[in-house]
Symmetry: C2
């Protein structure tokens, strides 16, 4: 053991790592692990933003997605929308800085929540092709379109503006268009841009989406309703969902003059009466200045908050698309013979309101390929990857589908069926930054299972009715072919006219067996 080897770790070895550097090296965490997945992730992030922007501004979304392949086998993609554009002051940060956004701190349902997605796509673009992101923005009511080219200074996680000028061409009256060059692979199949947009169209039937594929093919996902879902409202945190560290920070940052007003101002579902109850349980007067509270008093306050009965958080912060639109969406893209849907009442996990919707589409154009098809959604965004790590799949597997008219292979239902599960929430607990699967909180899977059971019962009714109708039809077929042969013999026996006997037999069967023999006879002679 020699001296030079024994060195202390000192400042010179250590440095801050920018979040952009971190994700550049860990890009598989964000959905950029291979070229095929990369293009889907890019389109997803841009389309999510467009749909969020349109809904916030009550605009029926029209989105044009274009993917081209160049001679070097790179992909150039563009997503153009008719939202209201983005203010020039924030364009560089939105596209050139990871962890920047407006949604992270809001308790309000939206597709984006972390401020990572679109800038991560830009990071991937510059890593793989060296090219900056190109953004066009035309604000509502303005003539000019702004064009930016932005790169990310990875070591600082800061935007660098390469170009910033006014142009005059934009296809819609207003909106934003994003363009990037990436190393990517455009494919078909289950994991593809096309499938992703199809699933998006099902859950967002008020959007018109057009996809221009690299081979020149154009696919349109039409708008089938002009009804936008209601705007979710922002809410304050609920006292039952807050943790000690967060409460301490809220108290430190609060401008309220008393603990009682702090409770009423900063939390939802706390009025004068509840505030009184809480401070009493915490053995306080409520008149204390928040900033003077000792840590042990804050702990008492938290314990009192958790012990006090309070209304559940308000649910206007979440906006499910509703049973009618779920069914519309399933019908328009799948053309099934039967469709049903269930939107559960809102529930709460760890203080966060959420709401589960499920839909089932059965038969018709749906292939009977053996196992079921699943449509997984979080805040209206399709989840394509990590199916087996997702709460939705867990809920489906833990449902006894044999009770609902489907056969099962392994733990999975099989048959010509699509099962849709949607979680709408102010904060969806994803299993990774790539937002690919929902973490299995017990409160969430429970709601999913209840919704699936309810929809399952509708399915069962339909399948039973269909089976009964098929049985009846079989019976009718038999009766019509054999019973009519008896007519001459019966006529002779009863000394009656054959036609009369036939009519009587037909009437009798109609009453007794609910079978319309005449129809069957007509069909048989066709």
């Amino acid at each position: 053991m020699t001296e030079p080897e024994q060195q202390l770790q000192t400042e010179s070895d250590h440095r801050e790592i920018s979040v952009a550097e971190f994700f550049e090296k860990n890009r598989h965490l964000l959905g950029f692990s291979n070229p095929q997945k990369a293009i889907i992730t890019c389109i997803k992030e841009a389309v999510d933003n467009s749909l969020d922007a349109c809904e916030e501004e009550r605009i029926l979304p029209e989105i044009r997605v274009t993917v081209e392949e160049d001679e070097k086998k790179r992909l150039r993609w563009q997503v153009m929308d008719n939202a209201v554009g983005i203010d020039e002051s924030i364009i560089p940060n939105i596209f050139g800085k990871l962890l920047y956004g407006s949604k992270f701190h809001k308790l309000q349902q939206s597709r984006g929540q972390q401020g990572i997605g679109i800038s991560a796509a830009g990071l991937y673009a510059q890593l793989t092709t060296g090219n900056p992101v190109k953004i066009y923005s035309k604000k509502k009511g303005q003539e000019d379109t702004h064009m930016f080219k932005v790169r990310i200074d990875t070591q600082k996680n800061e935007p660098v503006i390469i170009e910033d000028r006014v142009v005059d061409d934009y296809e819609f009256d207003h909106g934003t268009s994003i363009e990037m060059d990436i190393e990517g692979k455009y494919t078909g199949g289950h994991h593809s841009v096309k499938t992703y947009l199809k699933h998006t169209a099902i859950m967002n039937p008020y959007a018109k989406i057009v996809l221009n594929e690299p081979d020149g093919n154009t696919i349109e996902f039409p708008r089938v309703t002009d009804k936008l879902p209601k705007i979710p409202k922002e809410i304050k945190p609920h006292p039952h969902g807050v943790e000690l560290g967060v409460l301490m920070r809220m108290i430190k940052n609060s401008s309220s003059r008393t603990v009682s007003s702090f409770l009423q101002n900063e939390f939802t579902r706390v009025g004068r009466t509840s505030a009184d109850e809480i401070v009493e349980k915490a053995d306080m007067s409520g008149k204390e200045r928040p900033s003077t509270l000792e840590k042990s008093k804050v702990e008492d306050l938290l314990a009192a908050m958790q012990k006090t009965d309070l209304q559940n958080p308000p649910t206007n912060c979440i906006s499910p698309i509703g049973e009618d639109l779920v069914e519309e969406g399933l019908k328009k893209e799948l053309n099934p013979e039967f469709v049903t849907s269930v939107t559960r009442k809102p529930a709460v996990y760890r203080g966060n309101p959420f709401q589960i919707e499920v839909g089932i589409a059965y038969g018709g154009d749906i292939d009977n390929e053996g196992t079921y098809n699943v449509l997984r959604y979080a805040n209206k965004v399709p989840l394509i990857y990590k199916k087996n790590a997702c709460a939705t799949t867990e809920a489906i597997r833990e449902t006894d589908w044999s009770r609902y008219g489907l056969s099962e292979s392994g733990e999975r239902p099989s048959g010509p069926v699509y099962i849709l599960v949607h979680m709408a929430s102010v904060w969806v607990p994803f299993t990774s930054e790539g937002k690919e699967a929902i973490a299995s909180y017990p409160a969430i899977t429970k709601e999913m299972k209840l919704a699936l059971q309810e929809a399952g019962r509708d399915l069962k009714r339909y399948i039973s009715k269909k089976q009964k109708a098929q049985m009846q039809k079989k019976k009718a077929n038999k009766l019509s072919s054999y019973s009519m042969e008896m007519v001459p013999a019966l006529a002779k026996l009863a000394e009656h006219d054959e036609d009369e006997i036939r009519e009587e037999l037909i009437d009798m069967m109609k009453q007794k067996y609910e079978v319309d023999v005449r129809k069957e006879m007509e069909k048989n002679t066709e």
Copy 2:
């Protein structure tokens, strides 16, 4: 549609999100999804750091882990080591700032790589109990021990020093001790601190680890060798593993005066000859100033780098523990009847050198519970969670164990067996920040499978030999019980002494059947 609803997104809505805020809200990404997992994650992060620190300084690690439970059902944990301490100048940042460290930018094997782990534990501690992290550091050769209490300003991702003073008590001659209070649940079983430390002891047999459990129980994992693995060296990036965006940044930041010297200075395995070959292929002279290169020339340079044959990266940047120590580790903690191990030669994925080691322990004290037991490691750190999402498990399942003497149930080998897989690399591609599973890069699973097959063949030989020995033993048993009954009859027939005949028979069987009847006879009469 009314005017007030149509608002542009403006700067006021948008803000930067600190990485600490991000992970506070997404703490399940870092291994803090529930109280049981939280305590394991905390201990893991601290023990990893201690082992890294000791190895860097060539000190045989001695680590004391203590977990206590207080009356509020919170856990207080402490990890104390005999490394060389930490310089006071960097203590606040190490424990109070996420994404801060010395290992992220180095191509050199270490347990830590991201600069998130221990500060994330501190973030979780202050979120759940409001208490700061307590650090004791006694530097080698100094009398004083420094004691810090540090919190994280979550909104800024900056440390706040609560206390900083000199104390005079430290149990070892030098080292670091960390203490935190967390909401946690201490349990036994497969997912427990004890199991985690046991698995750590197997892969780090040169460490002595002592665990003091909340119930007062003490478990010691003893040191069984004084041989430390060699120190991995830091290397430069390899030209075949670099991407365009990174190359552009390297060129921009380079102080080299020519492209040729840039290539030789900044990359491994590029000497004068290779540099000449690369620049020629890129249609350049090599004398160009790096900073003046246009983007298209950088692309040409990258293409030329990738087309040029170069030696694989040097592998002294990785340090496997070696076949002997793998076997030592398995023996000391499992006491099997058979053990084997294989350390493969280094290989490369995406420019990153890595090396696979496997070990198999069979029989002896190992329970025959049906399915196999797995020991997964990344840079000597046990992986406890996400078994099914891990490349190690994939490799084991894709190996045909019936060829190696084990029966299979499903795709899994079964029997009294532990299978150990270790990936050592300058950069392990984890599937999440929690570093719980290794992503399945084809180059990695391929090496794992080759190693498993090699070790499997050793296992097969042992099991075959054992089976043969068992057969022989059976035969010997039969012979000793029946053949001796023939002695009197034979003696009469041959008109010989019975003892003589018996001896002859015994000799014959020893020669012909390789069976020592005398031994069996002695055993039977015991």
